[in-house]
């Protein structure tokens, strides 16, 4: 299986560049290339499921010297999430992007972002992590500004400034880590830190890395860019940014660094839980007053990311399972919500809640999809959001963190409150005069929505299966640092 690993980086890069070259002759080729490559990547990521952790040595160099790609349980989970959502987003954007010009460039940027994210999920080298982080970030800055209107440019500039600072902080942290340990390989750093103990410089580096990845992952003190950037992008990109990008660049990188490089300690767990609790509360409070549908969803993302961080910060096996399951669920339902908001925008031309109403008569598939998403995100029983939130709350109680359990339950209730408001404005009531002539969105867009909606329902029934395979291997990978070191350095 390990020979597949470089393809996760090579295929999207090749599709990006080759697509741009051939698009000069035949304009429609970008979408085709993107479709084929994301499809193949999704298949490959499912092939990786269940295979044992493996390591790929780039160019045949042995790990502490060369760059290596590592696929353990956590990476596999991230790859599955990234590539599935990306495939559905590409299917969605084939029709949706007809609202925009310069489609080949859109697909090329999308593929570059994919390459960056897959690289972040796979790499075992600190500096390589930074490089892939920057590839994904730069592509996402450009994609946020893709519409080239006032709001998009402003949002992209804010995102760019904060993202640039975050990248600088990450690079500074990596520089300090290199100066203290003399190596860039994650496993090698972990080994060096565990034998010599963490000194003040490496703690400073850890603080810098937490800040940097915190900005990328929009944890609350560092969240200011997200509610501007995510709504401004085209809808499939919003789905990718909210559903996948902040998880890979923020949460995944943070957990990888904390669990595998520095080693998890209760203090770090407390910091993570504090950040998570703050994100949950602030995101939910800010979401309630929004009139713009996508902006509301963006604030909800902040709040839901808080749940994931809270679960991971608990450090107990159950908490980690809950956090990872919520990560998976959030990727499905938030992508579903952003895509259905895009579909609504495609049909109605607006995203103001106050200008909508009664859409369920005209847009049955879209509204059904968004309803499933709303129910899922607010934690209504048969849907997947309920189970992951429940697991996190139970894990909080089991770890004697009653305050956080209370916060999580309260925020879940709050989420239900603001999504009920959205639902009332969106679906029921009278259809405004201006929206009388709207039609259901094209088939390809409906396809993505339906698949994601089915996933939302299906993941909750698949949970017993997944908790033993996918999530369990990711949890074991996180908790067992020495196995990771042994895998990379070969004992």
């Amino acid at each position: 299986m390990h020979s597949l690993l470089p393809l996760f980086i090579a295929i999207p890069l090749g599709a990006a560049f080759l697509g741009l070259i051939i698009a000069k002759l035949w304009r429609g080729v970008g979408g085709l290339f993107a479709f084929l490559s994301t499809l193949s990547l999704m298949v490959f990521s499912f092939l990786l499921l269940g295979s044992s952790p493996s390591i790929y040595k780039m160019g045949g160099w042995i790990p502490p010297v060369g760059i290596n790609l590592v696929s353990d349980g956590l990476s596999t989970l991230m790859l599955v999430v990234i590539n599935t959502v990306a495939f559905l987003a590409i299917v969605f954007s084939i029709k949706y992007m007809e609202l925009y010009t310069a489609k080949p460039k859109y697909y090329a940027l999308f593929m570059l972002m994919m390459a960056g994210m897959n690289g972040v999920a796979l790499t075992g080298d600190m500096f390589n992590l930074f490089v892939f982080l920057e590839i994904a970030s730069i592509a996402s800055y450009a994609l946020v500004a893709f519409g080239c209107e006032h709001e998009e440019l402003e949002a992209s500039f804010k995102y760019l400034i904060l993202g640039g600072v975050a990248s600088t902080l990450v690079l500074l942290g990596i520089a300090i880590l290199y100066s203290t340990t003399g190596t860039l390989n994650m496993a090698d750093i972990a080994q060096s830190l565990s034998t010599h103990g963490a000194n003040k410089a490496s703690l400073f580096a850890l603080a810098l890395l937490v800040m940097g990845f915190g900005v990328k992952g929009a944890l609350v003190p560092f969240h200011a860019w997200l509610p501007d950037a995510h709504p401004s992008a085209p809808a499939p990109i919003s789905a990718m940014l909210s559903g996948v990008l902040i998880k890979v660049l923020g949460i995944y990188a943070l957990t990888r660094v904390i669990f595998h490089v520095f080693g998890f300690t209760p203090t770090l767990g407390a910091i993570l839980m504090g950040l998570g609790g703050l994100s949950m509360v602030v995101g939910a409070l800010l979401a309630i007053g929004q009139d713009d549908l996508k902006r509301l969803l963006a604030y909800s993302t902040i709040s839901q990311v808080g749940y994931i961080i809270l679960g991971l910060g608990l450090g107990t096996p159950l908490g980690i399972i809950g956090g990872l399951f919520h990560l998976l669920n959030h990727a499905t339902f938030k992508s579903l919500l952003f895509m259905s908001s895009g579909a609504i925008e495609y049909s109605t031309g607006t995203r103001r809640l106050s200008q909508m109403g009664g859409l369920n008569k005209r847009l049955p598939v879209t509204t059904a999809g968004s309803t499933v998403g709303f129910l899922s995100v607010s934690g209504i029983p048969p849907f997947n959001g309920f189970f992951s939130k429940l697991i996190i709350i139970v894990a909080c109680v089991a770890a004697h963190q009653y305050i956080y359990a209370g916060i999580a339950a309260f925020v879940g209730l709050f989420t239900l409150l603001y999504f009920l408001r959205v639902q009332r404005n969106l679906l029921f009531g009278d259809l405004p005069e201006s929206l009388q002539g709207i039609k259901e969105v094209p088939f390809l867009m409906c396809f993505s929505l339906v698949v994601l909606a089915v996933l939302c329902l299906g993941l909750s029934f698949l949970y017993p299966l997944m908790s033993k395979t996918l999530l369990a291997s990711a949890r074991d990978a996180l908790l067992n640092t020495s196995a990771y070191i042994k895998l990379v350095l070969g004992g």
Binding site: I138, S156, F157, G164, T168, A175, G289, Q290, R295
Partner: protein, 116 residues
């Protein structure tokens, strides 16, 4: 030690420029200053007093070379980081131009359509 402190002062100067200035171009300059401060730190990490350049030329003693040369890895990293910084800079400048085109100003306090 003092050189490390100086790079940190440079970094903080860039951060100050980023936070305190309202002009978007000055903010861009602030980010670039921060970037270069970090690059400088990376180069200093690999520095060795009295070391030789890490280039193997004809007729050099390999054992002596490995003990004397400065660490070449940070230099490669800095080159990569400079390239990435160049890409970000080009994107930022293009965005500044586009922002000016739309808003007719470089003042960040007037570029405020998104709020809430």
């Amino acid at each position: 030690m003092i050189v490390y402190l100086l790079t940190f002062i440079l970094f903080v100067m860039g951060l100050y420029c980023l936070v305190a200035k309202k002009n978007v171009v000055k903010k861009v300059i602030g980010i670039v200053i921060m970037d270069y401060a970090v690059n400088l730190l990376l180069i200093l990490v690999g520095y060795r007093r009295g070391g030789v350049a890490p280039i193997l030329l004809k007729g050099m003693d390999r054992a002596k070379f490995t003990t004397q040369s400065v660490d070449p890895l940070p230099q490669a990293l800095v080159l990569t980081s400079i390239v990435i910084g160049l890409g970000v800079l080009a994107l930022m400048v293009a965005l500044c131009i586009r922002l000016y085109e739309k808003y007719k100003t470089f003042d960040m306090s007037e570029i405020r359509r998104l709020r809430g």
